[in-house]
Amino acid sequence: MFDNFPLWPARASTGAGNVDALYVFLLLLAGFMCVAVFTMIVVFALRYHRKPGVEAEQIEGSTPLEITWSVIPLGIFLVIFAWGAVIFFRERTPPRGATEVYVVAKQWMWKLEHEEGQREINELHVPVGRDVKLIMTSQDVIHSFYVPAFRIKQDVLPGRYTTMWFRATKPGVYHLFCAEYCGTQHSGMIGQVVVMEPAQYEAWLGGGAASGSLASNGQNIFQQLGCPTCHRSDVQGRGPNLVGVFGKPVLLEDGRTVIADENYVRESILSPAAKVVSGFKPIMPVFQGLVSEEQLNALVAYIKSLSPSPDEAAGDKPQQPKD
């Protein structure tokens, strides 16, 4: 009805409703406060408009009043903070077992690759009702992956991964925007998220000419680059055995412990000397500049696939909240 003049964005993910709820609450609160303040001003301005012979009544102020109107707002603010923080915490905690899609941003397009190997440009096809985790990086400047219908946004940074997740609830075609200014064609760096019924989605998956899954591509690259000479899968070679490593804590040579998450794997390929695993020599060559972002993603996906139960990144991570 409001094709040309919408007043509310489409709501197509499990998280969107939470955001809308807080937004409506804040709208009501802000509306109430505005009305209250404006009414007071208008009433005072009219009621106490200057009249001949009527002097203003001098009032110093009132400490109890000052305290009241400091403490009550502060209390309300804390509620808003907590509410907003809970939503945020869910948005930033990808559920286990989510389908993963790798995103590479560049001036000025989005390149996406599914676990199954499908590649897309400026379009993302996802099924209804499945958790999807995006693992994103940029080839050049900072971009931002923004899907208004899902109420999510995350800056995409060069040199590291950022992640976000969603679960679509309503089939349809939704906007995908770049929300961080990235140069001349910033406003052209848009695309669409196509949410499909699972059956249709399977059909779509089957229709593409994917050349093997992302992980198997990664395995090929792994072979081509000669990684298995050191990273053997049966015994410990000159490099660590990578089976089952992903998502687990790793003891480093300098005594620190890190979680082997996407960013760690990425760093270890590009700049292997930065965080060497305890007991190993820093003999691995640097791959910075030798592998493309897409190859890197495939390698990360492959190394992940070597760990049977996926994505337990932070061991003490709280349970994924139910929606």
């Binding site: 000397a273 930065a274 060497v276």
Partner: protein, 233 residues
């Protein structure tokens, strides 16, 4: 605040028209300089923040970079600056006591120390230039990688250490140059007998500035030169 100016007029030529008393003028100038130093703390603070974060992230490279600096030149320079701070402090005292010749001598000594510091700094920078440690196209950390096989050095991260090194010491040196300029000006005025036991605010606040630049170096010295000098295991 104890500043309720009295409308007394002990009007020396150095009292500017909008102040009521010389004390008011002096207090204003001194507070002004202190506030300026507060802004300087934040100015260097931005770099210290960057330094801190990269030192955490790229500790190895910072260690190697730090060890490649000449600690003897660094120590000598620290001592030179401390000596200059002493001569500044003494010159303020001499001015308060009205010893014109002593003031001039001490100020000139300060300038000499300041120039000596800059000279030594120049030598250090020239060494870095010869070693290709100046960030940019010709930057080359391969000598450090060779010299410190025990630790892993990423040339890009090494360059960040030297970027910060040059940014911090460079801006410090710029402050030194400005300080030398100020002190040349003060020396000239002191020579002409402008400063008296009653009126010596310029020397005092110039001194504050000089001491501040000294303090910045007092921190730069351990942060840049002494990150990790102990034998590498």
């Amino acid at each position: 605040m104890s500043d309720s100016p009295i409308a007394l007029h002990d009007h020396g030529p150095e009292l500017r028209h909008h102040f009521s008393t010389a004390a008011q003028q002096r207090d204003a100038a001194s507070l002004g300089m202190w506030l300026f130093l507060a802004t300087e703390i934040m100015f260097f603070g931005g770099m210290f923040c960057a330094y801190l974060i990269y030192r955490m992230n790229y500790f190895n490279e910072f260690v190697a970079g730090s060890r490649s600096l000449d600690i003897w030149l660094g120590t000598v320079n620290t001592i030179v600056l401390i000596c200059s701070s002493l001569t500044v402090a003494l010159s303020v005292r001499a001015a308060q006591m009205g010893k014109r010749k002593l003031v001039v001598i001490l100020l000139i000594l300060t300038i000499i120390f300041g120039l000596a510091f800059l000279g030594v700094k120049g030598i250090e920078w020239y060494d870095k230039y010869k070693e290709h440690h100046i960030p940019g196209a010709s930057f080359d950390a391969s000598d450090l990688i060779r010299d410190y096989p025990q630790i892993h050095i990423d040339p890009a991260h090494e360059q960040i250490y030297f970027s910060l090194y040059f940014a911090m010491t460079g801006l410090h040196a710029l402050h030194m140059i400005i300080g030398v300029g100020i002190f040349t000006f003060l020396t000239y005025h002191a020579w002409k007998g402008l400063y008296t036991p009653e009126y010596n605010t310029p020397i005092e606040i110039g001194g504050l500035y000089w001491h501040f630049v000294d303090i910045v170096w007092i921190y730069l010295f351990p942060l840049l030169y002494l990150i990790d000098r102990k034998p590498l295991g």
